[in-house]
């Protein structure tokens, strides 16, 4: 018998092949979102079995079900609150004992469980023979052998899951012994529940007691909501914890974990035969090379450089096509619509805005593709292993290096994919710190600004200056991380303890699915915010227009111009006047009191305001502000000559300006992505505030300090 509307929750350890299983079960029918209120990714899809539709919800990959990590809490709460019909726990057969630790916790919880004994082929290769039927009998749950990567056993698994769901057996917690001390303590805690257990359904009082002995903050919070029960349980919990710690000289949570493993070990020995001694596997041999003291770092540098080169090489052409497409759309619209505010809004506001979002898509796609290869092959974990010691000194995590490189560690990256790449970081504070510092790296959009200023003021030392700028951005980013981790993000780093999964050949299907869902989530989430801000930026740079009499004066002068050249000079002059009169121009003038000590006048300020749209806009806006028309960032020759001669501009001020552009406010696309990745406007706004503050202070120190030293 089969029921309608079956809901399966797919759970399992990271690296157990859970993603492959989800893909094998649901095919292309997948959706991605977030769990409410947290940044944990939620994926769901539909499987079908003989015409029956089965909803599959992919829980985050976890090793345990404590309340310590967001992922574990999300997985546990989903099961408790949403009560799926059955939990399918994907376990790695070649790594069974540790994988059963999670399975056992589902059984303690009591939800109906089906075990997918995955990667049976790997286990066989390793000489591990598992009697699946016996394992199922010993554990009291169905066990189905599978090889998800090859689609083996997937149908059988669905059938067994559907059957289990159809039984509607309700929740039955598995009660194992945790040793006499804990067992007695549990009995006393359960005793306090008389008559109240229904209110906690489907949770069993014993499970609640167990969590109290494990000092589970989430369950303790829930108990607090029932003052009657809390008054009974609270003192008893303290007393029992104290008693157990003293008699057993151990953390009660540790005692419980030890007994869980003891139980698993006895099941394991009965159902599993290891026909071969542990030997050095191929993966270990590869590891010896890739984590070698000398070769490891060299290979790592080569790989990171390769990723960087690949991403920007592969995305160059598609980015060009998209730019061409949006350029064409802009021109077509310009030709169709008459001169005026509407045309300006549609061309400069909407098309450029949407183009900005879409323009990043190829870069994001290839970056996620490269990261998926590193992740799925197992190399990403080695990156963290190799670099953890260095990055930890700055309060970061070994894996922080990937976002830093993508963000422009080698000049010319992009902070948008870099911020998204921090998803691979499991330490929440280190991740936030990484997100905050990534915009300091030298993204591709800052390069035209550097090129402009370097060729105008440091023509003799171009390469040295670029190298210095690269080093300064690394140094500042790392220092900023260190300071953040001492202040805003104070606290111990999360434990590092990390699995180094065996090297595997990634499957193309898995890579494509990973790449696509992340790319799509960028388009969906970032798109809405960016269009709005883009229109806002446009309005700031355009409105209000010149007063009518002034505009008429300019127009009559332009009409009366004797030559094409004179006409253009006048048009540029009008552009400058318009910009000066706009909101951004007024802001530029207003800010000039503040920026005078940095050597920036209103024209520099208005360019910096425009740079919030994208840093290369600084060049174009400077062009307009110096009456040169909109300067193409790639060909800024005329502006270079102009600035070199301009009073007030000198190498010292230019260097300060380069520093300022490097550090100040991430572009708004990045800010939108920071909002999305941190789930809070607070951090998004902070990323603007602290970078601008830092940029100001450093540019001030450089300019004033330099003048004292007689450099200006």
């Amino acid at each position: 018998m089969i029921v309608d509307n079956i809901r399966i929750a797919l759970a399992g350890n990271p690296n157990s092949g859970k993603s492959s299983m989800f893909n094998a079960l649901t095919g292309a029918r997948q959706h991605v979102g977030n769990y409410p209120g947290v940044t944990v990714e939620k994926k769901w899809g539909q499987a079908s079995l003989d015409g029956l539709k089965i909803d599959v919800i992919d829980l985050p990959g976890t090793y345990s079900l404590t309340a310590y990590s967001q992922e574990e809490l999300v997985a546990r709460n989903f099961i408790i609150h949403e009560k799926p019909d059955v939990v399918v726990d994907v376990v790695d057969a070649s790594n069974l004992e540790r994988n059963l630790y999670l399975a056992l916790q589902f059984m303690e919880l009591g939800v109906p469980v089906v075990i997918a004994l995955n990667m049976m082929d790997v286990a066989t290769d390793k000489g591990i023979e598992i009697d699946a039927e016996k394992l199922g009998k010993l554990l009291g749950v169905p066990v189905v052998p599978t090889v998800a990567r090859k689609g083996k056993g997937v149908k059988e698994l669905l059938a067994v899951a559907a059957e289990t769901a159809a039984l509607k057996q309700g929740w039955r917690s598995l009660d194992i012994s945790y040793g006499s001390d804990v067992d007695q303590a549990l009995q006393r805690l359960v005793g306090k529940f008389n008559g109240q257990s229904l209110a906690w359904s489907p949770l069993s009082p014993r499970w609640v007691g167990l969590k109290l002995l494990e000092n589970d903050p989430e369950v303790m919070r829930q108990v607090q909501q029932d003052p009657g029960l809390a008054n009974e349980l609270g003192p008893l919990q303290t007393e029992l914890l104290d008693h157990i710690s003293k008699t057993l000289d151990d953390d009660p949570a540790g005692v419980i974990a030890d007994y869980r493993y003891g139980y698993i070990n006895s099941v394991y020995r009965q159902a599993v035969q290891e026909t071969r001694q542990q030997r050095l596997e191929v993966s270990d041999k590869v590891d010896k090379l890739l984590t070698n003291r000398l070769l490891g770092p060299i290979i790592l540098l080569a790989v990171l450089y390769g990723v960087y080169e690949f991403v920007f090489w592969a995305s160059e052409a598609p980015v060009g096509w998209l730019e061409g497409l949006f350029g064409w759309m802009g021109e077509t619209m310009s030709a169709t619509l008459g001169d005026g505010l509407l045309r300006s809004l549609i061309v400069s506001g909407v098309i450029d805005g949407v183009g900005g979002v879409v323009g990043f898509v190829p870069i994001i796609m290839f970056m996620f593709f490269a990261i998926a290869i590193m992740e799925d092959s197992g190399y990403l974990a080695r990156v963290a292993y190799l670099l953890d010691r260095v990055l930890r000194s700055f309060g970061l995590h070994g894996n922080s290096v990937v976002p830093m490189i993508v963000g422009g560690g080698i000049s010319g990256g992009c902070a948008v994919p870099a911020v998204m790449a921090t998803r691979t970081l499991k330490d929440p504070k280190a991740r936030l710190a990484t997100i905050m510092i990534v915009p300091i790296m030298n993204c591709g959009a800052k390069l035209p600004v550097y090129v402009l200023l370097i060729s105008a003021f440091f023509a003799a030392q171009q390469a040295e200056m670029m190298f210095a700028i690269t080093l300064i951005s690394w140094g500042l980013a790392l220092l900023a991380a260190r300071v953040l981790r001492w202040t805003m993000l104070k606290g111990e780093s999360a434990p590092f303890v990390m699995e180094l999964p065996p090297y595997r050949m990634p499957t193309l299907r898995g890579l494509l699915i990973h790449t696509w869902e992340r790319t799509w989530s960028y388009i969906k989430k970032a798109g809405t915010v960016i269009l709005g801000v883009s229109i806002l930026m446009w309005a700031m740079m355009t409105m209000p227009g010149l007063p009518e009499d002034q505009a008429a004066q300019w127009d009559s002068k332009i009409q009366a111009a004797q030559s094409e050249e004179a006409k253009q000079v006048l048009e540029y002059g009008k552009g400058q006047a318009e910009l000066g009169n706009s909101i951004a121009g007024r802001m530029g003038r207003g800010l000039s009191y503040l920026t005078a000590p940095l050597g920036f006048d209103w024209r520099t300020n208005v360019a910096l305001v425009g740079g919030f749209a994208a840093k290369e806009v600084v060049v174009a806006t400077l062009g307009t502000a110096y009456s040169l028309g909109e300067v193409d960032p790639e060909e800024a020759g005329s502006l270079t000559q102009r600035l070199a001669k301009e009073p007030g501009w000198n190498p010292l001020m230019a260097f300060g300006l380069m520093l300022f552009v490097m550090i100040y406010a991430p572009c708004f696309v990045t800010v939108a992505v920071i909002k999305k990745e941190t789930g809070s406007w607070k951090w998004a706004l902070f990323s603007i505030a602290y970078t601008t503050g830092l940029a100001y202070v450093l540019a001030l120190l450089v300019y004033q300090g330099g003048r004292v030293l007689g450099l200006g």
Binding site: Y68, D251, Q278, K288, L386, R389, F496, P501
Partner: protein, 85 residues
Amino acid sequence: MIHFESLRSLKTGENATIFKVTAMGEMGRRIRDMGLVPGVSVTMMGRAPLKDPVEIKLKGFNLALRNNEADHILIQQPEINSHDC
């Protein structure tokens, strides 16, 4: 009293059995969640270029942990064992 060494002191290629995990709280939980519990045999696979973190093998899988985490895992090496018995 037998003196138990911490996992940090294990040399590359050496084997030992975990005797006790002294870490509490979140770190203790994470260590145990990964299967590092008393009675389990571990092999030191190597160290990162700056000697930290370390890579160990247990129950057929590889794990990286920082030295300050390894310090909380007390081990018994086979030869100490044989003297003891």
